[in-house]
C-alpha cells in the first residue's frame, strides 16, 4: 500500500517580531518555516534534523494543524487539515498524536498517570470507564509500564517511565501518526536506547508512521526510513537514511555529519565558520552561502530549489553536481 498518509505542501510560518524594543522597534519577519513540503506513508518514519532555530519543531506543529500556516497546506489522508480548535480538528486528534521532549512538562503533575493515559478516550468519549481502564492496561503493558504505576503521579516516576506514559497516552486511540519532537533528548544516555527500541517495536506492531524530529543525527539514523535536513526554515537535503549519512551531498549536511563526534577512527572534518544567521535576517540567495566553503556569486543571488537527483536524493544546492565539489569533499 503506497497511499500517502500525510502530505504537506509549501508550508510557511512567519512571525512578526520587533527587532528593537518598545512600540517604536522596527518590525521584522521571522521566517521560522519557509516553504517546507514533505509526505509520509503509513508505517514509515521521516526523520527531521537540524540545529536549534531551523524550524523543525515548528514544522511538527504545522503538520498536526496545531498552529495555522502562513501559507501552504497540510492534507491528512487526502483531506485538508481543519483549523485548530474547531470540532473537525478535534475529531481528527485520535488519528495523530504528539510525543514531547519534556515528558514531565507534558504531563499534568496533579493527576495520576493512569487518569491521564485514559484521558484521550474520556475526551472523545467512546468507551465506558471499565473499557477505558482495560484499554489503558493493554497500552501500558505495550509500552513497558506496570499496572501498579497506574495510580502514581508523574513526579514519582523516572524520566524514561514518564516518556512511556506520554507514549501510552498517545497510543490510546490507535493513531496512524506520531509526531515525536526530540522525544529522547531529555533522557539519560542509558535510558535513550530503551525508548528508541520501544518506538521501533511499536511501529512494527501497530504500523504507526512517525515524524521524528531531533538534533541527534545518530538517533535519527537509527529510527528513520528517510531523513530531511533543515537549515533556516527550509529542507536542504532529503534522502534514504543510511545513504544520506553515508554520502551527504549538500555542504551543510556534510558539515553537520562531519561535526558529530564518533567513537571510531577520526574522520576528516568540514568545519564551518561562524554562527548560523539570525532567522529574522536570512541571507539572500542560498541561505547557507554565508557559511558555505563552496559558495559562488550565483549562490548569493539565487535561491536553489530542492531538486531530485537521478538516484532519488533531493538536494537544494546549485553546485551539487559539479565535479569540483565532489573532489573537495
Amino acid at each position: 500500500m503506497s497511499m500517502t498518509l500525510l502530505e504537506a505542501t509549501g508550508l510557511r510560518r512567519h512571525y512578526q517580531v520587533r527587532a528593537g524594543r518598545g512600540p517604536f522597534g522596527a518590525k521584522a519577519v521571522l521566517r521560522a518555516v519557509d516553504g517546507v513540503s514533505l509526505s509520509l506513508k503509513p508505517g514509515r518514519t521521516l526523520g527531521l534534523v537540524g540545529e536549534s532555530g531551523c524550524g523543525k519543531s515548528t514544522t511538527g506543529k504545522l503538520v498536526l494543524g496545531f498552529i495555522p500556516p502562513t501559507a501552504g497546506t497540510v492534507r491528512y489522508r487526502g483531506t485538508d487539515m481543519p483549523p485548530a480548535g474547531t470540532p473537525a480538528w478535534r475529531a481528527l486528534r485520535p488519528r495523530m498524536q504528539m510525543v514531547y521532549q519534556d515528558p514531565l512538562g507534558a504531563l499534568d503533575r496533579r493527576l495520576p498517570v493512569g487518569v491521564q493515559i485514559m484521558e484521550p478516550l474520556a475526551i472523545h468519549g467512546a468507551k465506558s470507564p471499565a473499557e477505558q481502564r482495560d484499554r489503558a492496561a493493554g497500552v501500558m503493558a505495550a509500552v513497558g509500564l506496570q499496572m501498579h504505576q497506574f495510580d502514581r503521579y508523574p513526579h514519582e516516576l523516572s524520566g524514561g517511565q514518564r516518556q512511556r506514559v506520554v507514549l501510552a497516552r498517545a497510543l490510546m486511540t490507535e493513531p496512524d501518526l506520531l509526531v515525536c519532537d526530540e522525544p529522547i533528548s531529555a533522557l539519560d544516555v542509558s535510558i535513550q536506547a530503551q525508548v528508541v527500541n520501544l518506538l521501533l517495536d511499536l511501529q512494527d506492531q501497530m504500523g504507526i508512521a512517525y515524524l521524528f524530529i531531533s538534533h541527534d543525527l545518530k538517533v535519527v539514523r537509527q529510527v528513520s526510513h528517510e531523513v530531511a535536513v533543515m537549515y533556516l526554515g527550509r529542507i536542504v537535503e532529503q534522502g534514504e537514511a543510511e545513504d544520506l549519512f553515508a554520502r551527504p551531498l549538500h555542504p551543510y549536511t556534510r558539515a553537520l555529519v562531519s561535526a558529530i563526534p564518533v567513537l571510531g577512527p577520526r574522520r576528516e572534518r568540514l568545519l564551518l565558520q561562524g554562527d548560523p544567521p539570525n532567522p529574522v535576517d536570512v541571507p539572500s540567495g542560498c541561505s547557507f552561502h554565508t557559511r558555505c566553503p563552496f559558495a559562488t556569486a550565483a549562490c548569493r543571488a539565487e535561491t536553489p530549489a530542492l531538486r531530485t537527483l537521478p538516484d532519488g536524493r533531493q538536494v537544494a544546492c546549485h553546485r551539487v553536481e559539479e565535479p569540483a565539489l565532489q573532489v573537495a569533499a
Binding site: 528593537g20 524594543r21 518598545g22 512600540p23 522597534g25 532555530g53 539570525n278 529574522v280
Partner: protein, 309 residues
C-alpha cells in the same frame, strides 16, 4: 537609547491620560458633576455658570476634550471649602509632605539595603533571622498602629517628642520614623531575596572559579546585578511617597497633601481630590520614568540594542 527613552516617555504620558480618563469616567458615573463639585446648596446661577464653564451641556466627547484641556492647564475648579483654586491648595502642601517623606526615603534605603545585603550574605545566621523577623513585623504592622505606639512611648510616657502638629522640626521626627521603619523592613526583605537570587546565578560561581576573591565577587559581580530589581522597589517607594503619607500625616496632624486628601475625601471636595489625584499620578509617572531610565543604565539587556540572536 533614544528610542528606549522615547518609548518610556510615551508610556508615561499615556498613564497620565489614563488617570485623567479614570477621574472623568468616575466623576460622570457618580452623578451630576456640577452638583457634586459645587455642593447641593450652591446658588442655581453658580451651578449654571459652572455647567457652562465645564461645558456640561455639550456632547460627552467634547466634555472629555475640554476636561483634558482644563486638566493640562492645572484647572480642576475651585475648592468648595474656601473657594480657592484646588491646584493652589494642593501645591502649597507639597513642601510639608516632602519634608517628612524624603528623609523617610533616605531611612528606608539607608537602613533597608545594607540590612538586606548583610542578611543574604549571612544566610540562616542569627543576624539573618533577626533581620527577617523585624522585617516581617515591619511589614505586618499598620503604620497607624506603629505611629500610635511611638506616640504612646515617646510623647505620652517619656514626653521627649511632640505628638502632633508642625511647629518645629522636632515635630517631624516621629512621622519620619514611622514612615521609614516599615519601608526599611520591606526594603530589607526585598534586597535580601534579590541578593540571594543573584548569588545563585552561574556567573557568580564562574567569577569565583576565575579566581576573583569573594569580597570582590560580592562588590563587583553580585551587587550590580542585585541592584537592578532593587531599583524597581525604590522607584515604587518614591512613587508612593505621598500615598504612604496619607495615614501618617493624619495621625500626626502634619499639614501635607495626605492630610488634605483625607479631609477632601471626607468632605467630598471633589475639585481638590481631582487635583491631588493628578499631582500624585504625575509624581508616580515621573518616578516610574526615572526608574526606567535607571534600569536602562544598570541593565544592558533592556537598553534596546539590536541583539544578536
Amino acid at each position: 537609547m533614544l528610542l528606549f527613552t522615547a518609548s518610556r516617555a510615551l508610556r508615561a504620558a499615556l498613564t497620565i491620560l489614563f488617570v485623567m480618563t479614570f477621574a472623568f469616567v468616575v466623576l460622570r458615573l457618580s452623578g451630576d458633576p456640577a452638583l457634586l463639585i459645587m455642593s447641593v446648596d450652591a446658588p442655581p446661577e453658580a451651578i449654571k455658570a459652572f455647567r457652562e464653564a465645564w461645558g456640561l451641556e455639550r456632547p460627552i466627547w467634547e466634555q472629555y476634550l475640554s476636561y483634558i484641556g482644563h486638566a493640562f492647564t492645572g484647572d480642576f475648579g475651585k475648592s468648595m471649602r474656601d473657594g480657592r483654586p484646588a491646584i493652589d491648595l494642593v501645591m502649597e502642601r507639597v513642601p510639608a509632605t516632602l519634608a517628612i517623606t524624603l528623609p523617610a526615603l533616605a531611612l528606608k534605603v539607608g537602613l533597608g539595603i545594607p540590612a538586606g545585603v548583610y542578611a543574604a550574605l549571612h544566610r540562616n545566621s542569627f543576624a539573618d533571622r533577626m533581620t527577617m523577623a523585624v522585617s516581617v513585623a515591619g511589614f505586618t504592622m499598620p503604620s497607624f498602629v506603629l505611629a500610635l505606639l511611638l506616640v504612646l512611648l515617646f510623647s505620652v510616657n517619656l514626653g521627649w517628642l511632640p505628638a502632633s502638629g508642625a511647629d518645629s522640626p522636632t515635630y517631624a521626627i516621629l512621622p519620619i520614623i514611622t514612615l521609614g521603619a516599615s519601608g526599611a523592613a520591606i526594603m530589607a526583605r526585598f534586597t535580601r531575596s534579590a541578593m540571594l537570587e543573584v548569588l545563585g546565578q552561574p556567573y557568580i560561581r564562574a567569577a569565583s572559579a576565575k579566581g576573583v576573591e569573594w569580597r570582590r565577587v560580592i562588590s563587583h559581580h553580585a551587587l550590580p546585578n542585585a541592584a537592578i530589581p532593587t531599583v524597581t522597589i525604590i522607584g515604587f517607594m518614591i512613587g508612593s511617597l505621598v500615598a504612604g503619607a496619607v495615614v501618617v500625616e493624619s495621625v500626626f496632624a502634619w499639614p501635607g497633601i495626605g492630610r488634605l486628601l483625607v479631609s477632601a475625601v471626607a468632605n467630598r471636595d471633589l475639585a481638590v481630590v481631582q487635583a491631588i489625584l493628578m499631582v500624585i499620578a504625575t509624581w508616580m509617572v515621573l518616578a516610574n520614568f526615572t526608574v526606567d531610565m535607571a534600569y536602562g543604565w544598570l541593565d544592558p539587556r533592556v537598553r534596546g540594542t539590536a541583539a544578536a540572536h
